[in-house]
């Protein structure tokens, strides 16, 4: 019953070619178990319950080969969790992860094969081992997976470094010897080393200066052509996603609220949350702007609002919004939105 409204969405994705990666009604719940003291207190009749966070709540998302999908949301909306689930770093609490229509085994349980999905992390400082040289950071995985022979490791790494725009001398350096932009390039080379078909980029350029950000975005686009890559590009930056993505998906508090081709979404945003986001993104427009804010803040995912998650902040909220979860329906070709304002 609960997921009935998703049928239409699945049909819509199925009507096209089969997606490369499909997340079908996936959910992720983080449960904080009771500690020993709480368990004893419960024995004596205290009303204690485990706390559950619904980080991702019944999301369906299909990404087609060669497509760049931008995933936008505020911090705490579950976009990174969804990205990590796509890579296989998080197990699924519910739902299925399909690769070319076949169920994928979670990472760690698969043997003798490398994942076709790789991840580029936000903070390359935290995701690169500070005690390894670039030679091993980039070259270890392809050797382990048997993609290159051990004695060809250096040559292989060098060719990758050249591809991401780093000097050959980088081979023997440690991560701390690079600038932020170069470190981001090492992170990209590491992801590319195992010849993935699909890259999940989680805020990959958020920590970079504007001029460096443009360089790295250009690199992402060049690599897309060269390696026939498919991207799930997670970001909070509407401008970056607009430039890069073919299709944009907006998340709010664990659910997808709107999805549309990029031009359509930016020119005709349907969901009040998307409209608010677009109105508030700072632009290079010099006329003195009065900032009209979406009221309030993201509610706690520990106790999400009933019905439509956005209703406490929504300027158009009506009685129905607090009771009934809105359907995620197609309002224009390829344009989906979950809002009660779109008809019955």
């Amino acid at each position: 019953m609960k997921f009935e409204h998703n049928n239409m969405e699945i049909q819509a994705t199925a009507s096209l070619a089969q997606p490369l990666l499909e997340m079908r009604r996936v959910s992720k719940r983080f449960i904080k178990p009771l500690d020993a003291a709480a368990k004893i207190a419960k024995l004596f009749g205290a009303r204690l319950k485990e706390e559950t966070v619904h980080a991702v709540d019944g999301v369906t998302l299909g990404v087609h080969a060669g497509e760049v999908v931008g995933l936008i949301g505020e911090s705490g909306c579950g976009k990174s969790t969804l990205g990590r689930m796509a890579v296989g770093l998080h197990s699924l609490s519910d739902g299925a992860r399909l690769w070319r229509g076949e169920d994928m085994v979670p990472l760690g349980r698969q043997r003798g094969g490398n994942s076709p999905i790789q991840m580029v992390f936000q903070d390359p400082h935290a995701s690169l081992n500070p005690r390894l040289r670039v030679r091993d950071i980039v070259g270890e995985a392809p050797v382990v997976h048997g993609l290159v022979a051990k004695r060809q490791q250096d040559d292989y790494v060098k060719s990758l470094l050249e591809r991401v725009g780093l000097p050959q001398t980088a081979l023997t350096r440690f991560p701390h010897q690079f600038s932020g932009g170069q470190r981001a390039r090492v992170g990209i080379a590491r992801a590319l080393a195992v010849k993935p078909e699909f890259l999940v980029c989680d805020e990959a350029v958020a920590a970079l200066d504007v001029s460096i950000q443009a360089q790295v975005l250009n690199l992402f686009m060049a690599l897309r052509e060269e390696f026939k890559l498919t991207y799930l590009f997670i970001s909070h930056d509407l401008g970056v996603v607009r430039h890069l993505a073919d299709r944009v998906v907006i998340m709010y508090l664990g659910r997808i609220v709107e999805s549309a081709p990029t031009d359509e979404l930016y020119s005709h945003p349907n969901h009040p949350y998307t409209q608010g986001l677009l109105a508030e993104a700072p632009t290079l427009d010099v006329r003195k702007k009065t900032f009209i804010a979406i009221k309030g803040e993201l509610p706690s995912p520990l106790a999400p609002p009933s019905g439509c998650h956005f209703h406490p902040r929504c300027p158009h909220a009506m009685a129905r919004c607090s009771i009934e979860r809105p359907e995620f329906r197609e309002i224009a070709p390829m344009h989906f939105s979950a809002c009660h304002l779109n008809g019955n």
Partner: protein
């Protein structure tokens, strides 16, 4: 002519280390009128934060202000004693940091911290100070301010914490507030809430504001004037309209070109080649010349300041053409 609240002249801050002298702030000059909002824009390492810290007198060894003057309402701040500086800091000038936890003490309640700030500079009773604190929280848009006063910082969300930090900065009605990337870590919806609060508060109280950021698009909607820093120098300054619509310095032009909204979707973005130079090995002359497409032999000498009229100034021998029609 209105007297400026803040006048910074030739401010120079150096960091001395075994490897050499790092010229973090290299002869920076600007002035600010009451109620004016100035955006100070630059990439990381350009010295924009150090300029803020220098004005606040918060430079620690091995850093030192070696030259220049900072005048607040005509009063010289460089070289005065620490005791005198303490009476000004938090009273006449306040600073808001990127991470509000730099302002807030995690083990003290908000009311304790706010009352302390008021009592340090004003001769009022504790009850009165509490009242002032409560009003300040209300002014920055914190709901049920009275109750939130007795909360600890960790009980607030990121955006609320930043509001508390702003409230503390405004407690003593300072003449100048320096904001160091206060909205960089926040979501767009929260950022726009805070920008609108700051705009309103400045207009109401006549406080001058220095808004330090790396994001020109934030400054575009908020500030009156903007100064662009590169490698310790202000390379271009002027009204927001002049600088953003008709940048003359190639660096400003490049920065604006890097914004995704200025690029055609699907095409490679414009980019500035190379990276910001190391402060210890600054090239002679114009620090930008290694990355600049217009650089020539002439650029080996430091370019002087060119006045282009209407307060628009830049340091470049080969400026971009004036794209605005000559009026």
């Amino acid at each position: 002519m209105e007297k400026p609240v803040l006048e910074v002249k030739n401010l120079t801050t150096h960091f001395t280390s075994r490897a050499g002298i790092g010229k973090a702030v290299n002869g920076v000059s600007f002035s600010l009128k009451a109620g004016e909002i100035m955006g100070l824009v630059g990439e990381s390492g350009s010295g924009k934060s150090m300029t803020g810290f220098s004005i606040m007198g918060l430079i620690d060894a091995p850093g030192k202000i070696v030259d220049g003057s900072v005048r607040l309402n005509g009063r010289e701040l460089v070289g005065i004693g620490e005791e005198q500086m303490r009476s000004i800091r938090g009273n006449k000038i306040a600073m808001i940091f990127q991470d509000p936890m730099m302002t807030l003490n995690p083990v003290l309640r908000i009311d304790t911290q706010m009352v302390e700030t008021v009592l340090a500079h004003q001769n009022v009773s504790t009850a009165m100070a509490l009242q002032i604190a409560c009003n300040a929280l209300r002014r920055v848009g914190i709901p049920s301010a009275g109750e939130r006063l007795s909360c600890y910082p960790h009980q607030f969300s990121g955006g609320m914490r930043q509001r508390v930090a702003i409230a503390i900065a405004m407690l003593n009605n300072p003449e100048l507030i320096i904001c160091d990337e206060p909205t960089t870590a926040l979501d767009v919806t929260i950022q726009s809430q805070i920008l609108s609060e700051m705009q309103k508060l400045c207009k109401e109280s006549g406080t001058a504001l220095i808004w330090i950021t790396h994001d020109l698009s934030v400054v575009a909607g908020l500030a009156d004037s903007v100064s662009v820093m590169y490698a310790g120098r202000i390379v271009e300054s002027g009204t927001v309209r002049e600088v953003i619509e008709s940048p003359r310095h190639p660096y400003t032009h490049g920065l604006l070109g890097c914004a995704p909204s200025r690029n055609v979707r699907g095409r490679p973005m414009q980019q500035i080649p190379g990276m910001t130079p190391q402060l210890l090995q600054l090239p002679s002359g114009c620090a930008f010349r290694d990355r600049c497409a217009r650089a020539s032999e002439l650029c080996r000498v430091a370019p002087h300041l060119v006045h282009a009229g209407q307060g628009h100034e830049y340091r470049c021998f080969h400026p971009m053409e004036n794209t605005r029609e000559a009026a």
